[in-house]
């Protein structure tokens, strides 16, 4: 560790860069949770516009239609349309900061880069973390921030599942190459695991087993994996607990 004012994380990634990426990751999470909220928010001006427009049609059908009244409704329609446009502009600005940047990445390095964050999160939950990294995995072409987001949402899920675990929870991040064409990152815990009905709907948007959950975390992970040509999944861990994994395509060996 250098003793200068720019401490570096592992693998020589400056802490400031790592911090930027984590910000990016947390913003991704916010977007997902926002999706439901944005739909609701946009629905309000649209409802108002529809109401004014329909009322205008009714008023115009009358012989004694009052132009002042119609003008008032049209002004309201303009205001509400501007409000809808503003919501969309904010969303677009947010999306613009999320441009995907893919590079050939060592998946072990990517995991190690985020381990500090995972550990500090786990410590808060009284959970022990270990790494099981398989050496000499092929590089994968990914947006590191997005893949870290997926792993983090798996970790957060596990930490929440382990919250009520007697005798302390254990969480492990494992990398492997299940087949020549795939690299896998799995987050494994010794928690209660998942009920069968939750398993089937796990990656659906808006599905959540938590009363407070918006249910978007895993659905976003699913989308990210798909845009990378991979997949996310769940399998029960043996002898107990949960295992969430992301599979990423490995480039063919040259």
């Amino acid at each position: 560790m250098k003793a200068d004012s720019h401490p570096e994380g592992q693998l020589g990634v400056p802490a400031a860069v790592l911090h930027g990426r984590l910000l990016h990751v947390s913003r991704m999470a916010t977007i997902g949770e926002m999706a439901a909220g944005v739909a609701h928010e946009l629905n309000q001006p649209l409802t108002a516009i529809a109401n004014y427009a329909q009322a205008c049609r009714r008023l115009l059908a009358r012989p004694d239609a009052d132009p002042t009244e119609l003008q008032q409704a049209l002004a309201e329609i303009t205001t509400q349309a501007a409000r809808a446009a503003e919501i969309i502009r904010r969303l677009r600005d947010l999306a613009r900061s999320q441009q995907s940047e893919r590079a050939t990445t060592d998946i072990n390095a990517l995991v190690q880069e985020m381990i500090e964050l995972v550990e500090s999160d786990a410590r808060l939950h009284g959970v022990h973390v270990s790494l099981e990294l398989t050496d000499e995995l092929p590089g994968v072409l990914v947006d590191a921030g997005q893949i870290q987001h997926v792993i983090l949402s798996f970790v957060r899920n596990s930490l929440e599942a382990l919250a009520s675990q007697p005798g302390g929870g254990h969480l492990s991040i494992r990398t492997s190459q299940p087949s020549a064409a795939e690299v896998e990152v799995a987050v494994i815990d010794n928690g209660p695991g998942l009920a069968a009905e939750a398993m089937a709907r796990l990656f659906d948007p808006f599905f959540s087993t938590k009363a407070s959950g918006a249910g978007m975390g895993l659905a976003i992970s699913h989308t990210i994996a798909r845009t990378h040509g991979g997949s996310v999944g769940y399998r029960p861990n043996q002898p107990s607990g949960a295992c969430f994994y992301i599979l990423l395509p490995a480039p063919p060996a040259t």
């Binding site: 309000q44 409802t47 516009i49 008023l59």
Partner: protein, 208 residues
């Protein structure tokens, strides 16, 4: 014919939406009052005025469902139409189970809202008529003397005058007089109608 005091209470935390609903209702000749929160509505609502409530299910502070519960607790009979966001079906089902009159998803067709409001107003009018009728009948039964009430109880059990006279320790002639007074005061045209009135009163009075 609509009571001119009929009021549609529009409760929505979104100013744009609630003003647009008021405008829409005005275009079909309905009077609306708008409220920005459930609390504001509870403070400003006149239970004696006929009408119905158009309520956004999602609001900060007291939610639409909590407001419906408050109305239930207060014994309010005013019908509530819930407006839900798109895809809020579970919430709509919940609302119906809490005694909502109907629900509608945002954004909605004007005719759908107006039709529902019309049905809600019809229901409100029926509720009010039934309550008024109930109060009138209850008033008549309350005017019975203790002795007449005893006779009423025996009559509804189908006891003949002779048995009543024996049970009450009075003459059959006296029983006949009490009987006639009961029929006259309650306005019942027959024993069957009298029994029905008593059953109606009992059933409505046990409603929580």
């Amino acid at each position: 014919m609509q009571d001119p005091a009929t009021t549609i209470y529009v409760v929505d935390d979104d100013e744009g939406v609630r003003n647009s609903v008021r405008f829409l209702l005005k275009s079909v000749g309905l009077t609306a009052r708008t409220f920005a929160s459930a609390r504001e509505f509870l403070d400003g609502y006149q239970p004696r005025q006929p009408g119905c409530v158009v309520l956004d299910v999602r609001m900060p502070g007291m939610s639409g469902l909590e407001l419906q519960e408050q109305l239930n607790l207060r014994g309010a009979v005013i019908p509530v139409i819930f407006i839900t966001g798109h895809g809020d079906i579970p919430m709509a089902v919940d609302a119906m189970q809490h005694g909502a009159f109907d629900f509608l998803q945002k954004p909605f067709r004007d005719q759908d809202l107006i039709d529902r409001i019309q049905r809600a107003l019809d229901r409100d009018a029926k509720n009010r008529a039934a309550l008024a009728q109930h109060d009138r009948i209850r008033g008549r039964f309350e005017s019975l003397t203790p002795r007449e009430r005893e006779v009423l109880t025996l009559m509804t059990r189908g006891k003949p005058n002779k048995v009543m006279a024996a049970e009450l320790g009075v003459s059959q002639r006296t029983v006949e007089i009490h009987r006639a007074r009961v029929m006259e005061k309650t306005g019942a045209a027959s024993l069957a109608q009298l029994v029905r009135m008593v059953l109606d009163l009992e059933s409505q009075d046990t409603v929580p």
